[in-house]
Subunit: 357 residues, 3 copies
Amino acid sequence: MKTKHVVDLTDLTHEELLSVIRLANRIRENPEAYAQACRGKILATLFYEPSTRTQMSFQTAMLRLGGRIIGFDNPQNSSVAKGESLKDTVTVVGGYADIIAIRHPSEGTAAAASMYSAAPIINAGDGGHLHPTQTLTDVVTLYNEMGTLENLTIGLCGDLKNGRTVHSLIKTMSTFKGNRFVLISTPELTIPQYIKDIIIASECSFTQVRSLAQAIPELDVLYMTRIQRERFGSEEEYQKQNGVFVLDKAKLKNAKKTMRILHPLPRVDEIDVEVDYDERAKYFEQTVYGMYGRMALIMTMLEKSDRTPAPRLRSTHPFSCSNPRCITQSEKYLPALFREAGGDMLLCRYCDSRTLI
Amino acid sequence: MKTKHVVDLTDLTHEELLSVIRLANRIRENPEAYAQACRGKILATLFYEPSTRTQMSFQTAMLRLGGRIIGFDNPQNSSVAKGESLKDTVTVVGGYADIIAIRHPSEGTAAAASMYSAAPIINAGDGGHLHPTQTLTDVVTLYNEMGTLENLTIGLCGDLKNGRTVHSLIKTMSTFKGNRFVLISTPELTIPQYIKDIIIASECSFTQVRSLAQAIPELDVLYMTRIQRERFGSEEEYQKQNGVFVLDKAKLKNAKKTMRILHPLPRVDEIDVEVDYDERAKYFEQTVYGMYGRMALIMTMLEKSDRTPAPRLRSTHPFSCSNPRCITQSEKYLPALFREAGGDMLLCRYCDSRTLI
Amino acid sequence: MKTKHVVDLTDLTHEELLSVIRLANRIRENPEAYAQACRGKILATLFYEPSTRTQMSFQTAMLRLGGRIIGFDNPQNSSVAKGESLKDTVTVVGGYADIIAIRHPSEGTAAAASMYSAAPIINAGDGGHLHPTQTLTDVVTLYNEMGTLENLTIGLCGDLKNGRTVHSLIKTMSTFKGNRFVLISTPELTIPQYIKDIIIASECSFTQVRSLAQAIPELDVLYMTRIQRERFGSEEEYQKQNGVFVLDKAKLKNAKKTMRILHPLPRVDEIDVEVDYDERAKYFEQTVYGMYGRMALIMTMLEKSDRTPAPRLRSTHPFSCSNPRCITQSEKYLPALFREAGGDMLLCRYCDSRTLI
């Protein structure tokens, strides 16, 4: 693997991603053979916001490879409470641990951390921005459940506007040919234009629909997502959208027998509990595929880890990122790093958002 | 062992319980021989309410068997905060871990969890209901300190009305013959009738007294318990009861030289610190016996673990449990499961409380 | 090592300390050779106040020796919330674990814990009193970076009045000959008289100055410390002192090329981020040296651990310690233990503070 850190799943080439998926499958078929693969290695989970689900998946992955774990899941209990910078925490923990999984509410945090850590960094979620191991989970599941990653009709249902797992899955599945995305949402929660642009530029296609019931018969895969309460301005707005796209046994009647239902979990009520007993429901198996995916990723990243921190970067432009959720807003020592996006537009290299100059 | 899950200690047959106790002793005598007994296995401790004491005991037990640990001890840090159901959490963690110890403030939680988990469940305390590994701890201690589990005169002192460890210990010790229970409490805190019924139906007997000082000379064992402040309506009521049944050196003067003092810990002030230095005090050794008891239980449960979740259960009656502390009150998808208890009475299979229909 | 517990670094003889430092270096040079040195052993980290930095360092040290870890970092999640005494917690955990690292906001806590624990106790910080493994970290760093622990000119800058790491470092470095301490602080934050007395009684010397810029050219070592906000009466007072002694590139221009900069971390803004890129900055390497120091200490302490709790101590005087931050203020069962300090003065054996009788 060429990349040392995995901030986005697109840091891996198409071939590297397939190689990780294949390794995940070899581990799944013969876990005993890998039970000491990371013996003597330490994973640090730095969770600046709680996510038991994700943290346990990483911890289990490392332990099942024979490695050990340290970390925190509560910023109040950390040195952060004494005003320590992300840079200092990551520098120190990068000296203790062999690999770091970091989760943080600010967008671009993993990219920032990767600039200072001697140990490889895995992005375990940076705000609403990226969550590459969830996408790896989804792709390992599809590869195993569908037998292919090509020519699939994939329905994505729920909050397509804010759902980072949806964006990331589309980006990755667009690199495989012949996939068709059926985007199921209310008009208020449709997919952003830049994701559509990615599909258009690929060998895939998409349609946008408003009705889950209407879309379901043609789907090979139905990817359900939660409508996150915290994304809405008011409780009233939330209640209006929530419940519109609930998957239940009635809707499922018209689906293919071979369709697979995925969900990044946790779910609230967008999938009725009755559906859990349907053979097409694969969202719990999905979490186990995710564990094997993370095992494969950790193994691959540790194989070529060099323990050399990256060289210092200098600001590329005399501007700061205008995204209020960008990590550069709170960690002031970070250099301003942008890519030119044409015209007066700059793309922040931490959070990928646009700044007009 | 026939049972996959241990919700109550009575899930084990008399012979199975003795077999676990004997294994605990073999481990205690030769810990090195068992230092890799659970190598490659993972214990998840899901503690929805904090109990460092119990959690550390489970963790130490698993680590001393060569296993690994994951888990949480703070529901605020868990996916629960995102509204995830117990069912979903247990299903997912049951896919990561090989065995789960669960603690929860609602009665019947462990029974509910055992319906969905592929991994065996140990009840580490469900509200005021059951706490089987504490009772296992007590029994391993008695077996070693007294040399027998029969024909003992066992004093139980403190809050006998609400103390689940007392109820559970009596239930288990009633299955051994010739034991006599001396129940020492104020009239307000006497043992519930159903526990008396259990003793009456067994080959054991009981007496009820009001004075610790008067009862102490005849005891082989004195089991002290804390009067839990949170069980009382008012601070005034608590202060009135608390302190009445304090064990101190003066009271201990009239006890047998061979008497043993047990306590589930933590204690507050119901045993004077001076008593710690008396050779009869065994409550600290008790915690170490408990560690060996948990090691034996984990080993035994993992030996025959089949990783198959239980078949789906359907509601047995069109009623819901009337116990406000029952897990079915908050987890609405749970089927209503009752045993008929004669007349218009139903017994909830989760929390064991009675509902009148 | 003669001492079972390490409450203060002066519990080790000069020769024992050197022996630990040399072991730390052997581990650093060949970590593989020690990867199973503590196999089967358990470290408990009892952190009654959060310190992710210190806790992770201990955990990493134990894991890299092949040992296992249990513990807590949040008193709200512990049995302490049920009113358990320090004595009971330590007695129980001392039965579970092979070695304990304890951190607590009250002064003298580690000394108190060492009276009840079957397992050896390491003081991981007791309020503003002692923090011996930080000093061990500092000394291992100096030994490696300077090649000697003698005849060094050591600048100490910042809050010299309240900084326990500074006091402890001076006490330890005073036992090596020919060191000269340059004490750099405002008049309000100068070193206490008793530390000066220790230097005067040793084969070392000191000078007191007010200007970092002026002192810097002659230094072999510059030990920077944080001015802790919580030590000040008002925010205004804090702002006045803070920033006066900031190390930046300008001040560094006049320093020796071979000078080494240390800092116990976390830093806030007393060292400018630009200094991180100077080759003389060693505060991040320092944390790695600290990990090896803790590994050596744990190994050495476990080698001769006897698992016998100390005999009971009785009060030496009919007085109680007058230090409001002493552990004896809250844990009332602790015997009053004093050393006579001449005249009407008693020295508390827990917190080392003076009480006038």
